[in-house]
């Protein structure tokens, strides 16, 4: 079970420094938090012409929230706003166990690896933190 959660892929993403930085030309900045764990991220987006040109984050948290954030940024870079919204919803539905068909989840790319979190209710919030934060950041755009 645990091996399906703490995979090497997730370990890599949670330790990766690539997306952990500040954007020079951020157009949106959104804080997200999960008070019960103490997880906190600040998400920065550079949006132009309805497209997420670049994204980055800072903050602290567990491996799941950090990996999830990192994967999300990889996925969202270059996506249109509408597309980003749809993918965030897809991800959140997956974590809530509402979508289980692997084919449908392919679009999520590496983030689909977090699917098994749906079996761990105590960690659902860790996995979805970044995605809810993104959703708030682009809401109404």
């Amino acid at each position: 079970m645990l091996e399906n959660i703490y995979t090497e892929l997730i370990a890599e993403h949670s330790q990766s420094k690539e997306n952990r930085r500040q954007l020079e030309h951020a157009t949106t900045k959104e804080r997200g938090h999960n008070p019960s764990c103490g997880d906190e991220i600040t998400l920065e987006l550079e949006i132009a012409d309805g497209v997420i040109k670049d994204a980055a984050f800072s903050g602290v948290g567990c491996a799941i929230s950090q990996a999830s954030t990192d994967m999300m940024i990889d996925l969202m870079r270059g996506k249109k706003i509408d597309e980003a919204k749809r993918l965030a919803e897809l991800f959140i539905d997956m974590i809530h166990g509402d979508i289980t068909d692997d084919a449908e989840l392919e679009e999520l790319d590496e983030a689909a690896a977090l699917k098994n979190i749906s079996t761990m209710p105590a960690r659902v919030k860790c996995a979805t933190l970044a995605w809810h934060t993104l959703d708030t950041a682009i809401k109404g755009r």
């Binding site: 079970m1 645990l2 091996e3 703490y6 370990a11 764990c37 948290g61 491996a63």
Partner: protein, 405 residues
Amino acid sequence: MDKNFLNDFPILRSKMNRHQIAYLDNGATTQKPESVVRSICGYYGGCNANPHRGVYELSVRATKIYEDARRKVAKFINARPKEIIFTKNATESLNLVAYSYGLNNLRGGDEILITIAEHHSNLVPWQRVAQATGTKLNYIYLNADGNLSQADIDKKLSNRTKILAVTQISNVLGLVNDVKKLAAQAHEVGAVVVVDGAQSVPHIPVDVQNLDADFLAFSGHKMLSPMGIGILYGKRKILEEMPPFLSGGDMIEYVEEQATTYAELPQKFEAGTQNVGGAAGLSAAIDYLQGVGFDNIERIENDLTTYTISELKKLPYVELYGCDAPNKVGIVTFNIKDVHPHDVATILDAEGVAIRAGHHCAQPLMKFLGQNATCRASFYFYNTRRDVERLIEAVQKVRGIMHIA
């Protein structure tokens, strides 16, 4: 050889994730022996009625169960029955004091003194009282070993201090504060002393008269009892002068359209139908605890704590908090380097080891310790060295599972 307590706690013989459970989250809540569960069921199966109100036999029985529980609690902490108020948990007990005593006795210029190691339940209510009354909320900080700084106490306790609110045992560090000495010092400047006994009453003998505490709050569920019953002890004279907190049925004497007189202690503070089933369980829990004996409880917990600390100290990637002071009871807080406590707790859970991860409702203390979150193993007398071994074995697996070199 200690009695095999597991015989009395079926849940401790059950499995969690295919392993026998090692329940090490007793600081959050304890498990209940069969005698306690039987006593709740027995109450509902044979004596259930609204106490105080009925003339008929069933109600008389319910009243007796409820008042016997009060007498038992009073004896347990060396108080008088009138001084024992039943609440729903320690948090309500502390809020009762904050609302009824705090809001009515403080004014601008006064100070409230608490420690940086308080649980939110003995902190946020005082923050709100301070804001509502325009008083100042001061903090006692800690020495490097985690104990209260006497220099800080001496500096901050003054005749402006009207309330000193302090936990007897920190739920994060497990260190026992010398409440008796603190109370004496606080009384010298005329402050009222509120003791948070949520982590102490279940683990060490507490005598309110010896401590000379003005108030003592604790929860049944952390001492083998059902949830939904808490206790507030208050000195009779102080309680008598306080206005009621919750109002409604059973706490009144005469109600007219525009004015009400209130019942005597303790009813004055017990509004509405009380948790008699919870009181029945609490009674049985105190009986059980007295059967075990605090000498045994302290000896067993001390052994487990010492053993855990010495084993964890062998692991170079483990950082411990408050584990070098001698006045330590049953709680070991630590972190594994480069691994977030929530990941640790998830991995331990998969091994059947239940610990707590997070801020433990003590965010200011976390900040003071420079940590975002920690892991906490907390013991009760029914834990065994085998539980500790399981904890240590699981801890040793963590970094591997997390793919940390």
